[in-house]
Each structure stands twice: as structure tokens, then as C-alpha cells.
């Protein structure tokens, strides 16, 4: 190739790139529809989020096998925000502005969600957030496919009260926004139910806490007041393994002091031998062990996709399945991937979940879910001991005085994420978002 040719080619490429940069939306949509995947693949949260990235690739692959969406193939744009909250915002911006994705599936911790909210609001894109969280939020551009506190924490406490006769409560959590808000809601709920203040013990530990000796002994001491005691654990991620190891070593049996956890799933249990923990509980909206044809088909397809027959499934994965299916339906209904059209179309859509029920997208951007209580088994799976009817997700808890009067409704005429039912007004910055 001569120098002139090369220069020309370079010039041509440069021009093409410039044109491409200007005309990317039209250009990209001619080829494929891009879906953003915003999950940490490195850093602390990689332990939980990597699987969700694979789940999204799996779902997109399945959809393409079915012929894609609106006659086009879907394409995943994967970025790695590296468990770094400000980087989440940057990467979200990159996905929307540079990669031209029409919707993003991602996030795990509340901090990462809070970090990307302004980006989605500003650029008017769509985020599907698949993890159980503390509530007290509803944003126009975000769909919360994980559980709100009324879909996980409260039913779990009810179960312990009714079936185990628990009268004394330890609320143990990691020291950050999700456990603190959840425990605040639970404390109020328990007090409303007539539990005395001295029968509630609240304990917070730092992230990654590994020395649980004193706290487990405290729990044992608290449990020796002659009343049936249970632990409600919002302990996050890494700290769980040493916590459960200490419980097992100090001989706390589920029959005596059961522990119900909101952040421990099949993935977390893969890290240790669960034989001494049989009977401790977890509350989720999905368990791998749920015996339905939908779930069996999903697990088989997932394990085949990952080429690993031991790959486990978990609750946030199901949330992504539901979120993705609802989004696909909404796009088909709207006939376009345009954000405003999809936001309108998705409300009220229904899709079967994996546990034999129907997930409906509610006007407050949360979905209906059944609440399942499972007991840990010796093989690291959960045995469902209680399954509720479908519970609609409540964005603003009714058990906190300040949020009691607030509702979220993104349909006309309210179109507001924090609508005060008493003053009949829309408060806060979300009013601006609603425009």
C-alpha cells in the first residue's frame, strides 16, 4: 500500500468515524439494539455481580435465538465499574452516550444505584435494578425488580412470629444504608406489634467484619432471657461466611436461635459446609430449589449456557429475568426502544416469574413478588417452608412515620415518585424529573 493510499484510507476512516460519531443512534439501530450491562467484574462486589453479567448475556442470547427484538438482534454492551461507586456513574454515562444502549441492567449495592440515578435522569435512559433494597425511593427512569422491604423483611418477621413464636429480636447488620433503613422499618414494625424495646437488640458491624466471637456470644446472652429469640440478619456479602462459621462453632442451633438472612443466597452458601447450619433461614422471592416447570427449564438452559452443571441460580438473577422479559414486552408493545414510549408501555405488563406466579410492573416501578422463606439444607440449597401470595412492592414504607403518607405513581395524572397523599403534592427533586 502506498503512502497516499494509506493516508487516504486513514482519512476515510477518520471521516467515517466522525460521521459515525454524529450519526451513531441511526447507525447503531440499523444493525442491532444495544443493551447495557453495568455490573462490577472486579473489586469487592465482583463476588455477587459477575453472575448477573452472565445472566444478562444468557438472556440476550436466548432472545436472539427467538429472533431478536423488533426484527433486530440484541447486543450486550458490557462495562466494568469495578465496585467503585463514582465509576458506576461514569460507566453508566459511557454506556448511554458512547455505546448508545437503549436500556441498562445493573447495580447491586444501594450506593451504586444512588450514584447512577442522576445520570439516568439527565440522559433519560432506563435502568433495571435487580437487588432487594431499602425502599424509600422511586425514580422515573429506574425499575426496581428486586424486593422492597415489604416483600422480604416484614413477611420474614411475620413468619418467625407465627411459626416459631419469636418474642425477642436481634437485628444484626452491616453498617450502611440498606441494613440501617431496613432495621429502622423493622424496629418500628416490631414495636407496633407490641414487642418491648428491651426485647430488641440492634447491632452493626463494619464491612468485611471477620471476628464475630463477641457478637455471637452477645446473641447467646441476649437469647438467655427466657423468651424465644431470633436473629434478623442484614449482614452483607463477605462478612457472612465468618459469621455463620462462628455460629456453627459456638453451637447455635437453628432450633434454638434461628437466624433469618436477607442477603444470603445460594451463591454465598457455596463458600462453606452448611451441615451445621441446617434450619437457619433466608427470605427471598426466589430459590433455586423451587419446584416449577419454568424454574427447571431456566436452570437447565442456564447451566447449559454456562457449560457448568453445578452453576447455581439465585434471587437477583430471577429479578433480571423478569426485568428483561418485561422490557422486551414493553418494547414490542411500544414498537420502539424510545425511552418515553417504553416507560409508558411497561406499566401494567405481566410476565410469569420462575416460581409459578405472575410479575406485574406496578405504577410505582416496583413489581409483584411472592415471598418465600427457605431453610438452609445440608447441600447448600434452601427448602421452602413458607410461600406467600403475590405481594405488590411498596416504594415508601408504611411503617415509617415520615414515609407513611408518601406514594409513588408514575402514571398520569400523578406522575410522581414521592407523592404526598395528604398535601396532594409531589415533593423533592423527582418532581423535576416528572416534568
Amino acid at each position: 500500500m502506498t503512502l497516499v493510499n494509506r493516508t487516504l484510507a486513514g482519512l476515510g476512516l477518520g471521516v467515517a468515524m466522525t460521521i459515525g460519531a454524529i450519526a451513531v443512534p441511526a447507525f447503531a439501530q440499523d444493525e442491532t439494539i444495544k443493551v447495557g450491562v453495568l455490573h462490577s467484574l472486579s473489586g469487592t462486589m465482583a463476588i455477587s455481580e459477575t453472575t448477573l453479567k452472565d445472566t444478562m448475556l444468557f438472556l440476550i442470547d436466548e432472545q436472539n435465538k427467538k429472533g431478536g427484538l423488533l426484527g433486530k438482534q440484541l447486543e450486550a454492551a458490557v462495562v466494568d465499574p469495578a465496585s467503585d461507586w463514582p465509576l458506576f456513574a461514569e460507566k453508566a454515562r459511557e454506556l448511554i452516550e458512547v455505546n448508545d444502549v437503549v436500556a441498562v441492567f445493573g447495580g447491586w449495592t444501594s450506593s451504586s444505584r444512588k450514584a447512577v440515578l442522576p445520570v439516568f435522569e439527565e440522559l433519560n435512559s432506563i435502568l433495571f435494578y435487580p437487588v432487594q433494597y431499602e425502599g424509600e425511593e422511586s425514580q422515573r427512569n429506574v425499575f426496581y425488580t428486586g424486593a422492597a422491604p415489604n416483600q422480604q423483611a416484614i413477611p420474614a418477621v411475620d413468619y418467625l412470629m407465627e411459626n416459631e413464636g419469636v418474642e425477642r429480636w436481634v437485628l444484626a447488620g452491616t453498617d450502611y444504608v440498606y441494613p440501617q433503613t431496613t432495621n429502622k422499618i423493622l424496629e418500628q414494625y416490631l414495636k407496633d406489634k407490641g414487642v418491648a424495646a428491651e426485647d430488641i437488640m440492634i447491632n452493626y458491624t463494619p464491612f468485611g467484619h471477620s471476628d464475630w466471637q463477641t457478637i455471637v456470644t452477645d446473641i447467646k446472652n441476649f437469647g438467655s432471657a427466657g423468651k424465644k429469640t431470633a436473629v434478623v440478619s442484614t449482614i452483607n456479602g463477605d462478612a457472612n461466611v465468618p459469621f455463620y462459621k462462628e455460629l456453627a462453632n459456638q453451637g447455635i442451633k437453628a432450633e434454638d436461635i434461628p437466624v433469618v438472612a436477607f442477603s444470603v443466597g445460594e451463591e454465598e452458601l457455596a463458600g462453606f459446609d452448611t451441615t451445621p447450619l441446617v434450619g437457619h433461614l433466608a427470605a427471598w422471592n426466589y430459590f433455586q430449589s423451587v419446584d416449577t416447570p419454568e424454574n427447571a427449564a431456566f436452570i437447565a438452559a442456564w447451566q447449559a449456557f454456562m457449560n457448568n452443571p453445578d452453576k447455581v441460580t439465585n434471587d437477583p438473577m430471577e429479578a433480571h429475568v423478569i426485568g428483561f422479559n418485561l422490557w422486551v414486552q414493553a418494547v414490542e408493545k411500544a414498537g420502539t426502544t424510545d425511552t418515553d414510549a417504553v416507560l409508558d408501555a411497561i406499566i401494567g405488563l405481566e410476565t410469569p416469574n420462575l416460581t409459578g406466579g405472575i410479575a406485574t410492573m406496578l405504577p410505582n416501578h416496583h413489581i409483584t413478588k411472592p415471598v418465600l422463606i427457605g431453610e438452609i439444607q445440608a447441600d447448600g440449597q434452601f427448602e421452602v417452608v413458607s410461600e406467600s401470595d403475590l405481594v405488590p412492592g411498596d416504594a415508601w414504607s408504611d411503617f415509617l412515620p415520615e414515609s407513611k403518607v408518601i406514594e409513588a405513581d408514575w402514571t398520569a395524572p400523578i406522575s410522581c415518585g414521592n407523592y404526598n397523599t395528604e398535601t396532594k403534592s409531589c415533593g423533592g427533586s423527582t418532581a423535576v424529573a416528572a416534568q
Partner: protein, 544 residues
């Protein structure tokens, strides 16, 4: 492992069946045709229905019910999806053999998909424990009677009082008699028995001692007659006083245990940081690599010779030391030696190495936690007076001491140790005396890293084995070394134990989060007063 547990429980069940068969003449035997429908009633309905079904089974007083209930509690009882027949199963895999729980007859094999587990929860397990206690309290086997009496004691259901009385009148073994009488006393406190009966029961319950007695008495206090309340309160106070003393002792133990973990994590750093002045941010990753070595060793053992599992840690120790020491030497020779005297660059370079190591482990082993099992001799706990000591922690304390003493000996009694100390105290003079300081540097860094690898083997027993393992320890390690005095092993030892114990004494009062902050504040204040730590190194050119 699960397989083994299942086989064991099945063996147990069979044993109990045999036992039951031997004992049958002494007990009521219900006709098979009566018992079978009662057994099948276990499967349908809710947990409440299952509780009723268990009560009906217990009412038959037929000993064949015992293995049945035990299997149910173990979660090994199945029901046919089509014929709704409750069965024991044998074998594993796609097809399972079925055995009739009543007649013990083989019912042939069916696909696993046709069977469903009879579900059991904590509440039911408690009911079953009591039920088995009731059924076997009058058994002829002393061990069975004993465990029956203990489970009646644990559940403390006043309905069992009559049964206990007949048990007590028939009991000859004094040890079992004592358990039964204690159980009787516990039940008496719960009933509307006369004041005299309750007063007589009180000392027996107090004699149980510890947390259990406290639980029972606090519960009894609420519905005790007014005359008895002061006596119960006095017993509670006495027990609570004992408890407070033991709790303080327990805290000291927890502090020592936490201190030993800190010591293990920091001692390698005390060598690299102390001797060489290298701020090694990749130290935590050496610990992590040691833990992953343990994982690989255990995986290999699981695959090829599971009988060696109890020795897995002993095999992992030298391997972990070797691997991390070699990696340490490679890092020193490849990167750090070019950066001597440039603390900031070293810090950044080793920080980079730590990220690279973390991500490589994440890419090779995956981001999720890896299963590192506890050998049997490291599981569970034992009581020492009012202390409860877990085996894993005890072994880690011992291990930390052994590592510490060995390192002291290496530094004081070997040629390498002598050269290391010479280099620490005066690098230039040591070099002038003919010591190859670069070689000593590499060996020292290798030794420090190797010791971190050893720490990783120990920490794999109590913490997550994940790529983030090291991060949790790096700050604490630096804290210990700086607090104890750079370059002094004794300083690290005393520093680790002090911080451990201080942490554990603060934790119950201010909580884990604030406790950690307070410790940091205290260290900052301390360093202000004594910038060189607890045991400042004295040398002619420490500063150099």
C-alpha cells in the same frame, strides 16, 4: 460429605429400627393396617397438619415411629407423588429404592422425580425431638434413655411430667436419674405445682448453671408465686454475677484469639517493613495466596484421597510457605529492588502488584468464595468452666505462637538471622563487612512473604477464601507493626495482643464500628507520644 452424612443417618435409622425391633415386646405394637394410614398422614397439608400427624403417631406408642420421626427430622423421608405413600429411600442418583417404614418391606425402585421430600422446619424438628424423647424415655438402653431425658429437659413441656415421674421411679442409673430429676424440676417450675414443690425444684434448676439456668429461671420468674419470687431473683442474680466474671474471662480469650490472628497477619510484615523499610501493600495478597494454596491442596485431596483430609492443613503449610516465599523473592528481585529508598514509589508499585495479584486470582479461581473445609479436629467447641472455646481459634492461637517463636529463633540463632539483623542496624557497615546485602534483602522479603503465606493457611479456617481476603488484613497489619515498633518482633507480638484485647473489651460497650474507630484514635494519640511505637529499635543508624 453430604453422602456420608446421609449414609450415617440411614445407618442410625437402621440401628434404631433394630433396637426398636428388640424392644417391641415391651411396648404396645399397633397393627400395620392402623399404623400405615397414620404414617401416610405425615405428608399432606401444612406444617401444623404434620404436627397433628406426629402427635397421632406418638399416641400409638409404637417404637417403629422413632426411626420414622428421626428420618423425617433429618429430611430424608419421601412421599410418592402419585400414590401419596410415605417411604424411606435407599441409594442415590436418578432412581431410588423405597422401603415401607411400617413393614420394612422393599417396595421397588422408582425414578427420583416421582418422589417428593416430606418437608420439615425448625418447629417440627423441635416437636420431633420431644416426641422421640417421650417414646424412648422408658427404653432399655441407657444411652437412649439419657438422650431422651435430655431432650425432654431442653423442650421443657409440662405435659411430660407424668411420663418423667414413671421414668424416675424406674431409673436405676444415678447419672440418668439426675438428668431426669433436673428435667422434672424444670417442668415443675412451669406448672401450677405447690409452693413446696417449686421451692424444692429451685436449687436443682440453679445447679444446671450458666446461661441455660439463667434462661430457665428468667422464664420461670414471670409466673412464679409471689413468695418464691425473691428466691428465684436471688438465684438469677447469683448466676448473673458468675456469668459477668466468666464473660470478662471470655473477653480476654476473644482478645487473645483476635490478637493471634493480627499477629499472624502482621508478623510477616514486621520482617519486610521492619528490616527493609519496604511499605509492602501486597502483603495482604500473600496471605490470600496462602489461603488459596490451602484450597488447591484440599481440592486435590478431595479428588484423589479423601481419607487424608484431616492432614490437609499440614500439607498446605510448607507448600504455602514455599509458593508465597518464591513469589515474594520474585517481586523483590523484579520490582522492589529498583525502588529502594523511594518510599512513595514502592508504596504505589506494591499497591499495583496487589491489584494484579487479586485480579489474577479472580480470573483463575473466579470471584466467588471458595470452599475450604475445617478438618474434624478444628470444628466445634468445648467448655472450660464457664468459657466456651472453639477449637479452630485455639489452634490458631497455638499456631501463631509457634510461628512467632520459630521466627525469633531464626533471627537470633541462624546465620541468615544474624545477617538480617546486621543489615537492619547498619546497612552500609554490614555491606562493608562483606555481607551480600542484596541477597539478604531477597531472603528477608521471601521470609516475610512466606510467613504471610502461613498466615493465609490459618486464616482460611475462619474467614472467606476470596480474592478480597488480603484487603481486610493489610490496614490492621500496618497498625500492629507501627504500634508495636518497627523492626521489633516482640513489639509486634505485644502490639497484636494489646490491640486484640482492647478491641474485644471495647466491642461490647460501644459496638464493633465505633470500637474500631476508637482503636484507631488511640493509636494515633499513642504514635503522637511515642513515634517509634511500643518497642523502639535502638541502633546507631536506624534512621539511615
Amino acid at each position: 460429605m453430604i453422602g456420608a452424612a446421609m449414609t450415617f443417618s440411614r445407618l442410625l435409622a437402621t440401628l434404631v429400627v433394630l433396637l426398636g425391633a428388640l424392644l417391641v415386646p415391651a411396648h404396645a405394637q399397633t397393627a400395620d393396617t392402623t399404623l400405615s394410614p397414620l404414617v401416610d398422614a405425615l405428608a399432606p397439608g401444612s406444617f401444623k397438619d404434620r404436627e397433628t400427624a406426629i402427635a397421632a403417631l406418638v399416641a400409638t406408642e409404637d417404637l417403629r415411629v422413632v426411626p420414622l420421626l428421626q428420618t423425617l427430622a433429618d429430611g430424608d423421608l419421601y412421599v410418592g407423588k402419585t400414590d401419596a405413600k410415605v417411604v424411606f429411600i435407599t441409594g442415590s442418583g436418578a432412581t431410588l429404592g423405597r422401603i415401607d417404614p411400617v413393614t420394612a418391606a422393599e417396595l421397588g425402585e422408582v425414578p427420583k422425580a416421582d418422589l417428593e421430600k416430606v418437608k420439615v422446619n425448625n418447629g417440627l424438628r423441635r416437636v420431633i425431638r420431644t416426641a422421640i424423647g417421650q417414646l424412648t424415655l422408658l427404653s432399655d438402653d441407657p444411652a437412649t434413655r439419657r438422650s431422651a431425658a435430655q431432650s425432654i429437659l431442653r423442650d421443657a413441656d409440662p405435659a411430660n411430667l407424668e411420663l418423667l415421674d414413671s421414668g424416675i421411679s424406674a431409673e436405676a442409673d444415678p447419672a440418668i436419674l439426675q438428668v431426669m430429676q433436673t428435667a422434672r424440676a424444670v417442668l415443675t417450675l412451669k406448672t401450677d405445682a405447690t409452693l413446696e414443690d417449686k421451692t424444692a425444684a429451685l436449687p436443682l434448676v440453679s445447679a444446671i448453671g450458666g446461661r441455660d439456668a439463667l434462661t430457665l429461671l428468667t422464664a420461670a420468674l414471670a409466673n412464679a408465686p409471689d413468695e418464691l419470687k425473691p428466691a428465684i431473683q436471688a438465684s438469677i442474680d447469683g448466676l448473673a454475677r458468675d456469668r459477668a466474671v466468666w464473660d470478662a474471662a471470655q473477653n480476654v480469650w476473644y482478645g487473645i484469639s483476635l490478637g493471634s490472628v493480627l499477629l499472624l497477619a502482621a508478623i510477616g510484615l514486621a520482617i519486610t517493613f521492619g528490616v527493609m523499610g519496604v511499605i509492602n501493600m501486597a502483603h495482604g495478597e500473600m496471605v490470600m495466596l496462602g489461603a488459596y494454596t490451602t484450597f488447591v491442596v484440599q481440592e486435590t485431596i478431595r479428588r484423589y484421597s479423601p481419607e487424608l483430609f484431616d492432614y490437609s492443613l499440614a500439607i498446605a503449610l510448607p507448600l504455602a510457605f514455599l509458593i508465597t516465599a518464591l513469589i515474594g523473592i520474585a517481586i523483590e528481585r523484579g520490582i522492589i529492588r529498583w525502588l529502594y529508598g523511594r518510599a512513595l514509589e514502592t508504596l504505589l508499585a506494591t499497591w499495583g502488584i496487589s491489584l494484579i495479584l487479586q485480579q489474577s486470582v479472580r480470573s483463575i479461581f473466579g470471584p466467588t468464595n471458595r470452599l475450604v473445609g475445617n478438618p474434624s479436629w478444628m470444628s466445634g467447641s468445648f467448655d472450660l468452666g464457664g468459657l466456651s472455646i472453639t477449637w479452630s481459634r485455639l489452634w490458631i492461637v497455638i499456631f501463631a505462637l509457634v510461628v512467632f517463636v520459630t521466627l525469633l529463633l531464626v533471627l537470633k540463632r541462624t546465620a541468615l538471622g544474624l545477617q538480617m539483623r546486621a543489615v537492619t542496624q547498619n546497612r552500609r557497615m554490614a555491606s562493608a563487612m562483606g555481607i551480600r546485602t542484596p541477597f539478604v534483602d531477597a531472603m528477608t522479603f521471601g521470609l516475610g512473604s512466606g510467613v504471610a503465606g502461613l498466615a493465609g493457611v490459618a486464616l482460611s479456617q475462619i474467614d472467606n477464601v476470596s480474592p478480597n481476603l488480603g484487603q481486610g488484613y493489610i490496614i490492621d497489619s500496618f497498625m500492629v507493626v507501627v504500634f508495636g515498633g518497627v523492626g521489633n518482633l516482640w513489639g509486634t507480638f505485644v502490639g497484636a495482643l494489646t490491640l486484640g484485647i482492647a478491641n474485644k473489651f471495647l466491642e461490647p460497650y460501644v459496638g464493633a464500628v465505633l470500637g474500631k474507630i476508637l482503636i484507631l484514635v488511640l493509636i494515633i494519640l499513642f504514635i503522637q507520644r511515642r513515634p517509634r511505637g511500643l518497642f523502639a529499635l535502638k541502633g546507631r543508624s536506624v534512621e539511615a
